[in-house]
C-alpha cells in the first residue's frame, strides 16, 4: 500500500498525475510487488554493506566508542565529585545551623538557603550552572573558554558530521563512478533506489550510535555509585529516540544536497557549508540578535529608577506628614507639642522608617489612657499617617519597574529561543536538556521549588523567633536557637509527562525537517541526470 502511495507521489512530482496508479491499487498484481520488494531488499543490503566496508564507518565507530567511554568515565567521576561536594555543603550547612543559628530572622533565613543537588543526568549531559545568586567573584571561568564535552556533543557534532559523510556522495558519487547508470538500467524504480539508500544508509549510520549508547548504558548499570530508577531509563530511551531523529535529519540533508549536485566534491562542500550554518552559526548568533531586537533596560538603570521612585514616594509621604503636623499644631496647640515631645508616639519617622521606640510608644499609650482628647488627637494623627502610607504604596505600585524588567527579559529570551528554532541543533538541545532536567526548564522548576521553600523557611523562622521571644522576653539577637526541626529541602524533578509535553513542539520541528529534507531529496532524485 505504501509503495503505491509513494509511486503516486513520484508520478505527481514528475508532473504526471493520472488515474492509472489509482487503478493499480485495486488491480494490484502480487508478482510485481514481490519483485519490487526483492530489488528493494537487494539495494538496502548493498547500501548497508557499502557503508560498513568503508573507511568512514570504521572511523565513525571508533570515534563514537572512544569518546563515549572517555566522556562517561570522566563525567561519572565528576558526578561523584559533585555529589561529594554537595554532601559536604549540606554537612557544613547543618553544622552551622546546629551551632550558630541566630535569633535574627534575616540572618537565619540566609543560613537556610537551599542547596541544589547535581542532576542525575550529569553523567551524560553537563547541566547549565545555576545562576543562583548573581555569579561569584571566584567562580570557575574555564568552562567559558572551553565548553565541556558530553553526550550532546557526541550526537550533535560527531554523529551529524558522520551522517553527512555517509550521505553526501550517495547520489553524486554513484553517478561519478558510473554505478548509478548501471542500477537504473535495470528494471528498478528510482523510488526503490532512494528508499534503499535511505534504509540501508540510516541503519549503517545508527550502528555506531547504538553501540556507543550500549557502552554508556552498560557503564551506568554496572557502576554501583549510580542508582537510576525506571524514570531515568525512560528518559534515556526518549533521549535516544530524539537523537536518532536528529541524526537522520542530517542524513537526509546530505542526501538532498547529493541529489542537487553532480560531483561529490561540490556536494560535500555544500553539506559542510549548511552544517556550519545550522550548527555553529545560527544558534550562537540568535541570542545576540534577540538582544538587539528586543532591548531590555539595564538592570542598573532599572534599580536606579526604582530607588528614585522609592525616594520620591518617601518624599511625598513625608511632605504630607509635615503638612499634617503643621495643621495639627495649629489646631491642637500645646497638646500636639506634648505629642511631638513623645516622638509622635515613638514613631519618629511616622512609620516610614524602621526606628520605632518602644519606650515612647508605652509612654504615649499611658498618656492617652487618661485623656480622651489626647487619645482622639492621636487617633486622628494616625489616620493621617495611614493616608500618607497609602499614598506611598500607591506611587510605588503605579510603576512596577522590577516586573517590567523581568517581563522584557523573558520576552527577549523567548524571542531568542524562537529565532534559534531554525537550527536543528538548537531544537535538539532544547529537547535533550529539557527531557533530562539539565536545561533552562529545570532551572525554572528549581527556582519555583526554591521559592516555595524560601517562603516556607521564612514562616518557620518567624514562628521560631516569636516562639523563642515569648519564652524568653530578654532574647537578644545573638542568642542561639535550636533549629533541628527545620523543614528540609527536597528537590524532586518535574514528572516526565510534563517535560515530554513541553518538549514536543521542538521534537516536532526536528521531525518536520526530516520530512522536508526527504521530500526534497525525493524530488531532486526523480529529476536527476544520471549520465
Amino acid at each position: 500500500m505504501l509503495k503505491t502511495i509513494i509511486a503516486r507521489v513520484s508520478e505527481y512530482l514528475n508532473g504526471d498525475l493520472n488515474l492509472r496508479p489509482l487503478k493499480a491499487i485495486f488491480t494490484r498484481k502480487p508478482a510485481k510487488t514481490i519483485v519490487k520488494l526483492r530489488s528493494l531488499k537487494t539495494i538496502i543490503a548493498k547500501e548497508f554493506l557499502n557503508n560498513i566496508l568503508n573507511l568512514r564507518f570504521m572511523i565513525g565507530l571508533v570515534l563514537c566508542i572512544v569518546v563515549t567511554i572517555s566522556c562517561i568515565m570522566i563525567l561519572a567521576h565528576d558526578y561523584r565529585q559533585e555529589m561529594k561536594d554537595y554532601n559536604i555543603r549540606i554537612h557544613l550547612q547543618d553544622e552551622m545551623l546546629d551551632n550558630y543559628a541566630p535569633a535574627n530572622e534575616y540572618r537565619l533565613r540566609q543560613m537556610l538557603r537551599p542547596q541544589k543537588p547535581p542532576e542525575r543526568f550529569r553523567l551524560l549531559i553537563i547541566g547549565i550552572p545555576a545562576n543562583e545568586s548573581v555569579g561569584s567573584f571566584d567562580e570557575d571561568p574555564l568552562p567559558i573558554l572551553f565548553p565541556p564535552l558530553d553526550f550532546l556533543f557526541i550526537v550533535t557534532i560527531i554523529m551529524s558530521l558522520l551522517a553527512i559523510l555517509f550521505s553526501h556522495d550517495a547520489i553524486a558519487g554513484e553517478r561519478q563512478s558510473g554505478t548509478l547508470r548501471l542500477m537504473i538500467s535495470n528494471s528498478v524504480s528510482r523510488t526503490a533506489i532512494l528508499l534503499g539508500k535511505l534504509v540501508g544508509g540510516t541503519i549503517s549510520l545508527i550502528i555506531p550510535f547504538i553501540l556507543a549508547l550500549l557502552v554508556g548504558v552498560l557503564y551506568i548499570s554496572i557502576n554501583p555509585a549510580i542508582q537510576w530508577d525506571s524514570s531515568a531509563w525512560l528518559e534515556l530511551a526518549l533521549l535516544s529516540a530524539a537523537s536518532i531523529t536528529f541524526i537522520t535529519l542530517f542524513y537526509f540533508l546530505g542526501l538532498m544536497v547529493s541529489t542537487f549536485s553532480r560531483y561529490s566534491s561540490t556536494s560535500i562542500l555544500n553539506c559542510l557549508f549548511l552544517w556550519v550554518l545550522l550548527i555553529l552559526v545560527i544558534p550562537n548568533v540568535c541570542p545576540y540578535i534577540a538582544a538587539q531586537l528586543r532591548r531590555v533596560p539595564s538592570i542598573e538603570g532599572t534599580s536606579r529608577r526604582s530607588k528614585e521612585i522609592e525616594r520620591h514616594s518617601l518624599d511625598v509621604a513625608r511632605e504630607y506628614m509635615v503638612e499634617a503636623a503643621k495643621r495639627f499644631r495649629l489646631k491642637y496647640g500645646a497638646l500636639f507639642a506634648e505629642y511631638e515631645a513623645l516622638g509622635f508616639g515613638g514613631n519618629w519617622n511616622w512609620g516610614l522608617a524602621d526606628d520605632d521606640d518602644p519606650k515612647l510608644q508605652e509612654a504615649t499609650r499611658r498618656r492617652a489612657e487618661g485623656d480622651p482628647e489626647f487619645a482622639a488627637m492621636v487617633e486622628a494623627f494616625r489616620v493621617e499617617n495611614r493616608k500618607a502610607q497609602q499614598e506611598l504604596i500607591r506611587i510605588r505600585e503605579a510603576s512596577p519597574v522590577e516586573e517590567d524588567l523581568q517581563r522584557k527579559a523573558a520576552s527577549q529570551t523567548r524571542l531568542a529561543k524562537d529565532l534559534a528554532c531554525i537550527s536543528p541543533f538548537a531544537d535538539f538541545v532544547y529537547v535533550a536538556r529539557d527531557l533530562t532536567g539539565t536545561g533552562l526548564r529545570s532551572l525554572e522548576h528549581f527556582k519555583q521549588v526554591k521559592e516555595k521553600y524560601i517562603w516556607q523557611v521564612g514562616r518557620y523562622a518567624e514562628e521560631k523567633i516569636s516562639d523563642a521571644k515569648k519564652k524568653n522576653l530578654a532574647l537578644k539577637e545573638e542568642s542561639l536557637l535550636d533549629v533541628s526541626d527545620r523543614p528540609r529541602f527536597v528537590f524532586k524533578e518535574e514528572p516526565l509527562k510534563d517535560k515530554l509535553i513541553g518538549v514536543l513542539p521542538y521534537w516536532g520541528i526536528l521531525v518536520l525537517f526530516n520530512v522536508v529534507f526527504f521530500v526534497a531529496a525525493f524530488a531532486g532524485f526523480m529529476r536527476y541526470d544520471v549520465r
Binding site: L92, F137, L142, V285, P287
Partner: protein, 428 residues
C-alpha cells in the same frame, strides 16, 4: 619555479567552486561576528557607564568596576566576568550587582560568536578543506604525474603548492578582518590606544599562524592518502579531535588531577568564618565608638577576620591556579587550545588577565588595611582602585611565548612531514 607553481595554485584556487563558497562563508561570518560583538560591546559599555556613575555618587555601597576592553569585540573570552562590579565584604569579595547580559538565559546554552571562535572552529575547518585534496586530488586527475615528468624537485613542488594555496586562502580572511576592524573602530564608542592596536595585530598574526597549522596538516594528510575521499574523511576526523575533543576532554581530565572545591563550598566556608566571629563582632558593637581602645579592638578583630578569610581565599586560588596550569599543559598540544589561551591572553580577556586582576584586588585590599590601620589615613582619602590591563610586554614574557611557540612548532612539524611524505609519494 616555486613562484610559477604558487601562481598556478592560486589561479586554480580562484577558479574553483571551493574557493568561492569558502570565501563567501568566511567573509559573511567574520563581518557578522564583528558586528554582533560590537553591539554586545556597546551594551557592555553602557552598563559600565551607568555602574560608574552610581558608584561615584556615593549613595549606598561603593564598588569597583573596570571598563570592558574594545578588544573583547574580537575575543570576548572572560571579559564579561572581568567587568563585573565587585566590593569588599568582611569575608571575601562579592559581586555587588546583577550582570546585565545574563538576563537572556540563552547565552548560557550557546557560545559567543566572536572572531576567536570563528577562527578557532570554522576557519580551521575551511583551511583543512582547502588543503585536503591538494596532492591526492591532483594524483586522481593525473596532473601530478604530468608535472613530475619534468625536471622538478619534489620539495619545490610541495612548497610552491603550500605558498600558493595558503595565500589564496588567507587573503580573503585578512581583507574581511581589515574591513570589519576599520568599520568598527571608526565608531566613537570604540577607543583603542596604541597598546590595543599592537595587541590586535598580534592576535591576527597568531590567527594566521593557527590557520597555517591546519592548512599544513591538511596538506600532510593529502600527502599520506591516495584518494581525495579518504583525505576528506581523515581530515574531518582529525579536525574534530583537535578542535573539540582534546581541549574539552583535557580540561575535564585536569580536574581529575587537581581537585578544586566548588564556589558554593567556598561561599559556605566564608559564611562559616563569619558566624565564627559573630559573637566577637557583637561584643565590639556594644563598645561605644568614642572609647579610646575601640579602634584598637576593631583593628585586631578585623585583622583576624581578614587573616582567616585571606587564607581561605589564597588556598582556593592556589588550587585553582594549579588547575589552570595543569589544564594548559595537558591540552597544549592541540593547536585550538594553545590558540585560545594565546589569543585571550593577548587580548586581555583570558585566564592570565583574570588571575592578574585577582592578585591586584588582593593587594588593593592589603593596601587599604595598611593605610587605615598603619598610617591612620581617613577612609575618605583612600585612593581608588586603578586597573590597567596587561601590556604587550607582560603578555609575551609569560605563557604567551610558550603557546605561540607551540603553534609555530606544529606548523614546522606538519610542513616538514608533508614534504617528507611527498618525497616518497606514489604518483602513479
Amino acid at each position: 619555479m616555486i613562484f610559477e607553481i604558487a601562481k598556478k595554485e592560486m589561479r586554480q584556487n580562484l577558479l574553483s567552486y571551493k574557493f568561492s563558497i569558502i570565501t563567501i562563508l568566511s567573509t559573511v561570518l567574520i563581518l557578522l561576528s564583528i558586528f554582533i560583538m560590537y553591539s554586545d560591546f556597546c551594551l557592555a559599555r553602557e552598563n559600565h557607564e551607568v555602574l560608574q556613575k552610581e558608584s561615584q555618587k556615593g549613595q549606598g555601597r561603593h564598588y569597583e568596576v573596570i571598563p570592558p576592553t574594545p578588544l573583547g569585540i574580537f575575543a570576548k573570552g572572560l571579559d564579561e566576568n572581568l567587568c563585573r562590579p565587585w566590593e569588599f565584604e568582611a569575608v571575601g569579595v562579592e559581586i555587588s550587582s546583577a550582570k546585565q547580559k545574563s538576563l537572556n538565559d540563552l547565552f548560557k546554552l550557546f557560545t559567543a560568536p566572536d572572531l576567536l571562535y570563528i577562527i578557532k572552529v570554522i576557519l580551521s575547518l575551511c583551511a583543512m578543506l582547502f588543503a585536503f585534496d591538494m596532492v591526492s586530488g591532483e594524483k586522481e586527475t593525473g596532473t601530478l604525474r604530468q608535472s613530475l615528468s619534468n625536471d622538478l624537485k619534489r620539495p619545490i613542488l610541495i612548497i610552491g603548492k603550500w605558498i600558493g594555496g595558503f595565500t589564496s586562502f588567507i587573503l580573503p580572511f585578512l581583507v574581511s578582518v581589515l574591513i570589519g576592524t576599520i568599520l568598527v573602530t571608526s565608531s566613537p564608542r570604540v577607543e583603542m590606544n596604541p597598546q590595543d592596536w599592537a595587541k590586535l595585530g598580534l592576535f591576527i598574526l597568531s590567527g594566521v599562524v593557527y590557520l597555517a597549522v591546519f592548512f599544513s596538516l591538511g596538506l600532510l594528510i593529502s600527502c599520506l592518502t591516495h584518494r581525495s575521499s579518504t583525505s576528506l574523511v581523515i581530515s574531518l576526523f582529525v579536525w574534530t579531535i583537535l578542535v573539540f575533543l582534546i581541549p574539552n576532554l583535557g580540561n575535564i581530565l585536569a580536574r581529575q588531577f587537581v581537585s578544586v572545591p566548588t564556589v558554593q563550598q567556598l561561599e559556605l566556608r566564608r559564611k562559616q568564618i563569619m558566624e565564627k566571629f559573630r559573637p566577637e563582632i557583637n561584643e565590639l558593637r556594644r563598645i561605644p565608638e568614642t572609647r579610646s581602645d575601640y579602634k584598637a579592638h576593631e583593628e585586631a578583630l578585623i585583622r583576624r577576620i581578614f587573616a582567616d578569610s585571606d587564607k581561605l581565599d589564597e588556598n582556593y586560588r592556589n588550587r585553582f591556579n594549579s588547575l589552570v596550569k595543569v589544564s594548559q599543559n595537558i591540552t597544549r598540544f592541540s593547536p585550538a587550545s594553545a590558540f585560545t589561551f594565546l589569543a585571550t591572553d593577548i587580548m586581555g580577556t583570558g585566564m592570565a588577565e583574570e588571575q592578574r586582576l585577582k592578585r591586584m584586588v588582593q593587594s588593593y585590599k592589603n593596601l587599604i588595611v595598611h593605610l587605615i590601620y598603619d598610617e591612620n589615613i581617613d577612609e575618605d582619602s583612600i585612593p581608588g582602585f586603578h586597573y590597567g590591563r596587561s601590556s604587550v610586554n607582560e603578555i609575551l614574557s609569560q605563557e604567551g611565548l610558550r603557546n605561540s611557540l607551540v603553534l609555530i612548532l606544529l606548523n614546522v612539524l606538519f610542513l616538514t612531514g608533508a614534504s617528507v611524505a611527498f618525497l616518497k609519494y606514489d604518483v602513479r
